[in-house]
C-alpha cells in the first residue's frame, strides 16, 4: 500500500471579542444581560481587591502562604459564570474569584489560608470541591463527578481549573483521555498564565498552543483571550452547552497572565522582567471591561466607585469575621475531627494523649 495522507480533522479556533482597548467585535458580542455583566464586573473587582487585601494580610502575618489571582479575574469568572448552581466546580488553588462567585464566603478563604482546616468546609448544597494543591490531580475528580452525573442521567456538568504547568502532568492526559473515552460532561479550563513558578510557557511544552492538546483525544479545543471576559464566557457557555446536551468534554485554553507572584513565598524578579509584566498590565482584563461597560452606558464613574467601595466594605467585614472565628477555633483537638465517620480506637487514644498533655501544660503555665 502507498503512503497516504491521514485526514485527521483538527479544527482549532482562537477567540477574542473585546480588544485591549475595550472595543467590542459586534459580530461576536454575546447576548448577555446587563445584570449578568455587572455581576461579573462586581466579582472581578471583588476578586482583585480581596486578592490585594490578602497580600496585605499575608505580609502582616495574619494569614499564611496563598496564590494570588491578580490578572486572571476574567479567565476564571468568565468560565464559572457559564455554570448553573447544580453544576460542579473543581478548582486547583488559584481560583479565589471563582470560589467567591460560587458562594464560598471570603472568611472561609481566609480561614483556609490562615491555617484553619475549617476553611475547607464547603456549604451544604454548594457543588464545589475544596482547593486541590497537587497539580493536575483534581482533573480526574471532575471526570468522575461528570461520569456519575451522566450515569444518574442528570444534566449536571463538571468544570475543572488548572494552569499551563498542569498540562505536563500525567493526570492531565489521563483525565482528558478518560473524559473523551466516556464522553463525560466535563469542561477543562486551563488558565495559561504563562508561568509555572519560574518555568515559562515556552519551556513547558513544545506545542504552539495548549488547546491543541485536546485534539489528540478527539476532544474539541479552543484558545481564547483569557483577559477578555466576553470571550471566556462565550467559549465556556458553548462548552457547558455541549456537555449538558450530551456532546462530551471540551478543553478551553485561556491565555492570561499571572501579574503577581506564584505564591506569597515566591519572588518573580528572579526569573522574569518588569517589561514583560508591564506589557501584560496593558492587557488588563478589568480595565478593558470597564471601558466596554461604560460605552454601553451601564457603568458610570459613580457606579464604578460604588462597586469598589461596596467590595471594600464586604472585605473588611469578612476580615473581621475571620479573625473572630479564628479565635473561636483555637482547640487543637479539632485536628482529630473528620478523618473517618467513626474515630477508631487508636485515634481516640492519641486524642486523649494530646488532651492530657495540653491540660497539664495549661496547669503548669498557671502555676508558673
Amino acid at each position: 500500500m502507498p503512503r497516504t495522507r491521514l485526514n485527521v480533522d483538527t479544527p482549532l479556533e482562537f477567540l477574542s471579542i473585546l480588544t485591549e482597548d475595550g472595543v467590542v467585535d459586534r459580530d461576536l458580542e454575546p447576548d448577555v444581560s446587563e445584570e449578568l455583566l455587572l455581576k461579573l464586573y462586581r466579582f472581578m473587582i471583588l476578586g482583585r481587591r480581596f486578592d490585594e487585601k490578602m497580600l496585605q494580610l499575608q505580609r502582616q502575618g495574619r494569614i499564611g502562604t496563598f496564590a494570588p489571582i491578580k490578572g486572571q479575574e476574567a479567565s476564571q469568572l468568565g468560565a464559572v459564570a457559564a455554570l448553573e448552581p447544580r453544576d460542579w466546580m473543581v478548582p486547583c488553588f488559584r481560583e479565589t474569584a471563582a470560589q467567591l462567585w460560587r458562594g464560598t464566603p471570603m472568611e472561609s478563604v481566609l480561614l483556609y489560608f490562615g491555617g484553619y482546616d475549617e476553611g475547607g468546609r464547603i456549604a451544604d448544597g454548594q457543588r464545589d470541591l475544596p482547593v486541590a494543591i497537587p497539580v493536575a490531580s483534581q482533573l480526574l475528580h471532575a471526570v468522575g463527578l461528570a461520569w456519575a452525573a451522566k450515569y444518574r442521567k442528570s444534566d449536571e456538568v463538571a468544570m475543572t481549573f488548572f494552569g499551563d504547568g498542569a498540562t505536563s502532568e500525567g493526570d492531565f492526559h489521563e483525565a482528558l483521555n478518560f473524559a473523551a473515552v466516556y464522553q463525560t460532561p466535563t469542561v477543562f479550563v486551563c488558565q495559561n498564565n504563562q508561568w509555572a513558578i519560574s518555568i515559562p510557557r515556552s519551556k513547558q511544552t513544545r506545542s504552539r498552543t495548549l488547546a491543541q492538546k485536546a485534539l489528540g483525544y478527539e476532544m474539541p479545543g479552543i484558545q481564547v483571550d483569557g483577559n477578555d471576559v466576553l470571550a471566556v464566557y462565550t467559549a465556556a457557555k458553548e462548552a457547558v452547552y455541549r456537555a449538558r446536551s450530551g456532546g462530551g468534554p471540551t478543553f478551553i485554553e485561556c491565555v492570561t497572565y499571572r501579574m503577581a507572584m506564584h505564591t506569597t513565598a515566591d519572588d518573580p524578579s528572579r526569573y522574569r522582567t518588569e517589561e514583560e509584566v508591564a506589557e501584560w498590565a496593558r492587557k488588563d482584563p478589568i480595565a478593558r471591561f470597564e471601558k466596554y461597560l461604560a460605552a454601553k452606558g451601564w457603568l458610570t464613574p459613580q457606579g464604578l466607585e460604588a462597586v469598589a467601595s461596596e467590595a471594600d466594605a464586604a472585605i473588611q467585614k469578612a476580615v473581621q469575621r475571620y479573625e473572630e472565628l479564628a479565635k473561636s477555633l483555637g482547640d487543637p483537638l479539632q485536628m482529630f475531627d473528620h478523618h473517618f465517620e467513626q474515630l477508631p480506637a487508636h485515634l481516640v487514644e492519641q486524642r486523649e494523649e494530646l488532651r492530657r498533655f495540653l491540660e497539664t501544660e495549661n496547669e503548669e503555665a498557671r502555676h508558673a
Partner: protein
C-alpha cells in the same frame, strides 16, 4: 453451603452488592469482557452491563482519580488495580485525595470507595507482580487497609468494605486466590473492619499474621503440636488499619512469647508496628524477645528463588522453637 475459591467468593460479594445497590460500580483494566486477569469480576459485565462494569483505558491514576469523583458524587466505586505493583501510579490519588477529602472538606464530602488489588508472592509471576507493600497504605492516615486470608472472610470483608463510609484499600493475597476452597454461604455475611480473629487457640506462643501467611502459620502450629507438644495460638489480623491490638495483646499476655509472620520486608514492616504495640501494652508479660519471620529487606527475587524469600512453615517452626528456648 457451596465450596468456593477466594476468586469465586469475591465475585459473589461483588455480584450481590451490585444487585442490592445501583451505586456500586466496578471499574479497572480488563475487568469487563475479560472478567479480570484473575477472573474476580467474571460475568459481571454480562449481568450489569458496561455502564456498571467499566473496562477502562490503561491508566491507574485515572482509575483511582475517577473513582474519587464518583464517590464524592455519591456512588460506591470498587476499582481494581490489576497488580499492587502498579498501584504506585495511583499512589498520589490515594495519599493526596482519597484519604483526605473528608478532612479537607471538613465532613462535607466523603470517599466511600474500595481499591481492590492482588498482592504477594508465590505464583511464579513476573517482576513487579509479587511484592507485599501493604505498609505503604497502612501508614496513611485516613485510610482503612484490609487483607483477607481465605474465601469466606474475603467475601464477608469485601461486602463490609463496599458498605464502609470511608476509603478502603483491599489487598487480595493472590497466592490464596485458587489455593483452596471453603464453604461460603449464599446468604449475606459481613465481617467488621478493624477486628482481628483468633484462628487457633494455644498457650505456649502467639503467632500474629494475616493474608497469605495465615496458612503457613497454621501449618507450623500443627507441626509444633504434633511433633513437639507446643500449642501455638494463631491470630489473623484481617485489617491492618485500623489495627486491632486488643486480641494479640491479650494473647501475648497469656503466652508471653510472640512470633510475627509477614511476607513484606522486615524493616519498618507491619511487624515493627506490632512489636511496638506489644512493647507499649504487654512489655511486662513478655518472656522472650519477639521474633519476626518475614520477607528479607530485598528486591523481591524472580520466581526461581521466591520460595526461599517467602516465609514458610519451616521458618516459622524454627523461630517458635528459638523463642521458646530463649531464657525467661
Amino acid at each position: 453451603m457451596p465450596k468456593m475459591t477466594m476468586v469465586q467468593a469475591l465475585n459473589l460479594a461483588l455480584r450481590q452488592e451490585m444487585e442490592k445497590d445501583d451505586r456500586v460500580i466496578v471499574l479497572g483494566e480488563d475487568v469487563g469482557v475479560d472478567g479480570g486477569v484473575f477472573r474476580v469480576t467474571e460475568g459481571l459485565i454480562d449481568r450489569f452491563g458496561p455502564d456498571r462494569v467499566l473496562d477502562t483505558p490503561l491508566a491507574e491514576s485515572a482509575i483511582v482519580g475517577m473513582s474519587i469523583g464518583m464517590a464524592v458524587y455519591g456512588l460506591r466505586p470498587v476499582c481494581e488495580i490489576q497488580f499492587s505493583g502498579f498501584s504506585y501510579l495511583n499512589f498520589h490519588q490515594i495519599e493526596c485525595h482519597a484519604s483526605r477529602l473528608r478532612h479537607r472538606s471538613q465532613g462535607r464530602f466523603t470517599v466511600p470507595m474500595v481499591l481492590r488489588t492482588p498482592y504477594g508472592g508465590g505464583v511464579r509471576a513476573l517482576e513487579h507482580h509479587s511484592e507485599s507493600r501493604e505498609v505503604f497504605y497502612a501508614h496513611m492516615p485516613g485510610l482503612k487497609m484490609v487483607i483477607p486470608s481465605g474465601p469466606r472472610n474475603a467475601r464477608a470483608l469485601l461486602v463490609s468494605a463496599i458498605r464502609d463510609p470511608d476509603p478502603v484499600i483491599f489487598f487480595e493475597p493472590k497466592a490464596v486466590y485458587r489455593a483452596f476452597r471453603e464453604e461460603v454461604p449464599e446468604e449475606e455475611e459481613t465481617l467488621p473492619i478493624g477486628k482481628s480473629l483468633l484462628v487457633r487457640e494455644g498457650r505456649h506462643v502467639t503467632l500474629i499474621t494475616y493474608g497469605a501467611m495465615v496458612r503457613p502459620a497454621l501449618e507450623a502450629a500443627d507441626r509444633l503440636s504434633q511433633k513437639d507438644g507446643i500449642e501455638a495460638e494463631v491470630i489473623d489480623l484481617l485489617t491492618l488499619a485500623p489495627l486491632d491490638d486488643t486480641l494479640f495483646v491479650e494473647s501475648a499476655k497469656k503466652t508471653g512469647r510472640v512470633v510475627i509472620v509477614h511476607e513484606a520486608p522486615r524493616s519498618y514492616g507491619p511487624g515493627a508496628e506490632l512489636v511496638a504495640r506489644l512493647v507499649e501494652k504487654a512489655f511486662y508479660f513478655l518472656e522472650a524477645p519477639v521474633r519476626r519471620v518475614t520477607g528479607y529487606d530485598l528486591i523481591m527475587p524472580l520466581f526461581a528463588r521466591e520460595q526461599a524469600y517467602l516465609p514458610n512453615a519451616g521458618r516459622i517452626v524454627r523461630a517458635v522453637k528459638e523463642t521458646l528456648e530463649a531464657a525467661a
